[in-house]
Every structure is written in C-alpha cells, then in structure tokens.
C-alpha cells in the first residue's frame, strides 16, 4: 500500500442464517483507486479481509444482472457504482430491499423467477411461420414499440424500488410486467389477450400506484412504470367495452 492510496470504510450488512438471528453491520477498511467499483471493493474484502462475505456477481459490465444491492439505501448495480462517489464518508451496502435475505448480500430471487415464468414470456405467434418462410418482417418502428422493454436484465433493482411489491408480494411487480408488455407489444405476437388475464387482475397492472421509482433506478433505461401505466388505460377501456366488442375482451 502506498501513501497516496486512499482508504474507504465499507459497511456491509451481514446475515449468516447459521450464525445470526438477524442482520448486523460489519465494517471494513478498503484501499481503493478512483476507477474501482463497489463490486471491486467487495471482492477485495472477500479476497483479503473476510472470505465469508457472500454476494452474487459475474460479468462486471452491467449486463448479467447479478450484482444488484442497496448502496447507501439506493438499489444499484455494484459493478457500475464507483467507490470514489462515497469518499470520504464511506458507504453502507445491504441486500436488495423487499426480498428475503438468504445470506449477506444475497436475496431470494425465487419469487421473481416464478412471476417471470407466469406471464408466458415468449412469442406465441399471430401467424405461425416455418423456417423456410424466413424471418417475420418487422420495421424499425415496430421494433421500437417493444425494444426498450426487452432490455430488462432481470437485476430486480426495480423490485427493491417498488414499495407496492414490498407491501404486497402478490403484486407481479415492475420488471415482469414490463416483460409482459414487451411480448404484447411485439408485432409478431398474438397472445396478449391470454397474458392480459393476469394483467387485468389486482396482481397485475392494478397493483401499481405509479410511484415511478422503478424507472428511475433501472440501470438499463427500461421504463417499467410506463409499461404498466399505459396498460391501465388499455385495461380500463377493455373493462368497459368488453360486453359490447364482438369478442367481449377476455373473461
């Protein structure tokens, strides 16, 4: 360690179910350089200070979605948050809010995955096509209708930002509803009526109260609040017109 190297205090919320009954803060002093991410700070701790500190990470470039955590109370990807922003005050790192802590900075993602699986997140084609017929035609503008919502990396920061999910776990939540909208808005897909069965329920779009923080914390510029709230209008129209339209909407 050279004299010029700066040292920052990182407080980590520890929870080891085999040792602790509830989470406790543990403080570490970490030498750092200005280009070091919070993730690199945690790696330093694990490598050289305490090998028991546990967290998920992989790509280091904000695309795999593993390393979301609460950094000074804000949901962030630790790989693209930099230690220098917290110097000299230091920082506090906790597991993502609103989800059960499995261990240290690792949350139980099971609920998110179950919800993702529940919305039929795949193309159910409007008009089936064989491989020999080649690709579906889709103009750049048609692609723009859903592309943004397909950029979700499933990092769950939006769930940690959504108090409605925190208060009521039956709410499908921002990320998954944005993905539902992604498929509904895809010109190749023809199954929005099926998916909307969930969308029209309280567990769907109506569980949202337009807090909007999900869209603020999204590291990929997805706008889940928009995906959800623009569907409230559709749902309302469908609600009132379902008896007069020929198909009657969905149930």
């Amino acid at each position: 360690m050279t004299d010029t190297e700066k040292v920052i205090e990182i407080q980590v919320l520890r929870y080891r179910p085999e040792q602790e009954t509830e989470p406790v803060l543990q403080s570490f002093k970490v030498p750092f350089t200005d280009d070091m991410s919070v993730l690199q700070g945690l790696q330093y701790i694990k490598d050289y200070l305490d090998g028991t500190v546990s967290f998920r990470w992989s790509c280091r470039m904000a695309i795999c979605g593993s390393c979301g955590m609460m950094i000074d109370g804000k949901p962030k990807l630790s790989c693209k948050t930099f230690l220098r922003e917290y110097y000299p005050a230091g920082l506090r790192i906790e597991a993502l809010a609103h989800m059960p802590i499995e261990r240290d900075l690792i949350v139980d993602a099971g609920d998110f995955i179950t919800k993702l699986e529940s919305i039929k997140p795949y193309i159910i084609p409007k008009e089936p096509r064989t491989l020999e017929q080649g690709e579906y035609l889709q103009t750049p503008q048609q692609r723009d209708m859903y592309e943004q919502f397909s950029s979700c990396i499933n990092c769950m920061l939006c769930y940690a930002a959504c108090p409605q999910y925190g208060l009521d776990k039956t709410f499908t939540g921002p990320g998954v509803l944005a993905l539902m909208h992604r498929y509904n808005a895809d010109s190749r897909d023809g199954a929005s009526a099926e998916r909307m069965d969930l969308g029209y329920a309280h567990e769907g779009f109506w569980g949202c109260t337009a807090v909007g923080y999900c869209s603020v914390v999204c590291p990929k510029g997805v706008d889940p609040a928009n995906a959800i709230n623009q569907n409230k209008m559709n749902s309302a129209i469908n609600y009132f017109t379902r008896f007069v339209t020929p198909k009657g909407g969905t149930k």
Partner: protein, 132 residues
C-alpha cells in the same frame, strides 16, 4: 436438512427511507386537500340551497383569516398536484411517434403543464368576464 432461514425485513416506515418515496407520499397526500376543497364547495352548495342567509354565512366564513390561510395551503397543494400529475403523465401514455420520432417524456410533461396554465388562465378570465 436445509439450514436456510431467509430473513424478511420490515416495511415499517418505508416512506422515510428514500427522498423519492417522501416525494411520492407528498403527491398522494395532496388528495386529502383535494377532498377538503371538495367538502368546502359541497358545504357552499348545500348552504346555497338553504337560502341567502345560510349562503352568506358560508361566504363570511371564507373571509376569516383561518380560512384564508387554509386556502393558501390548498393553493400550494393544488399547484403541487398539477406539477406531479403531469410529471407522472409520460408513464401513463403509450409510446407515441410524431413524424417517425419518439415523443420524449419531457415534452408530454411540458405540454401538460402548459395546458394547465392555459386552462387556469381561461377559468380566471371567463369568471372575470362573466362576473363583470
């Protein structure tokens, strides 16, 4: 035997945890003031139906300092309601294209706020016009 014991954190006082949540709750609380104003108007309407004396009692009450202060607070919360309403509006609209270009959220908010200013001015001018 699994040693898993997922720890669920409390949601108590969640709205104090983040400035964003404080702002959200402030927006939601404006509803209390909207309700209060609706009640003031409803009382005025009922008094109007009860006759001139009753109605003028209501008018006089409006002139009390307490009522004036209360309405100043109401005005502030209504302005905040207007501001926050159009701020969240881009989230509630489908993605729109004008001339092949995506309409940006800031434009929707800006248009909404401009519409509110125009509508308020129109109301003020019409009321003034009709009254004089």
């Amino acid at each position: 035997m699994s040693k898993r014991r997922p720890y669920v954190r409390s949601m108590d006082g969640w709205w104090k945890r983040d400035a964003y949540f404080v702002k959200y709750m402030a927006r939601e609380v404006t509803a209390v003031f909207v309700a209060a104003y609706a009640v003031v108007l409803l009382v005025g309407l009922v008094r109007l139906a009860q006759g001139q004396a009753a109605y003028e009692g209501w008018l006089a009450a409006l002139k009390s300092p307490l009522s004036l202060v209360f309405h100043l607070v109401l005005l502030a919360t209504f302005v905040y309601h207007t501001w926050s309403w159009f701020n969240i509006m881009p989230k509630t609209m489908p993605i729109m294209f004008v001339g092949g270009k995506r309409v940006q959220p800031g434009m929707i908010t800006g248009a909404g706020l401009a519409a509110a200013v125009v509508a308020c001015l129109a109301v003020l001018l019409i009321v003034r016009g009709v009254a004089s």
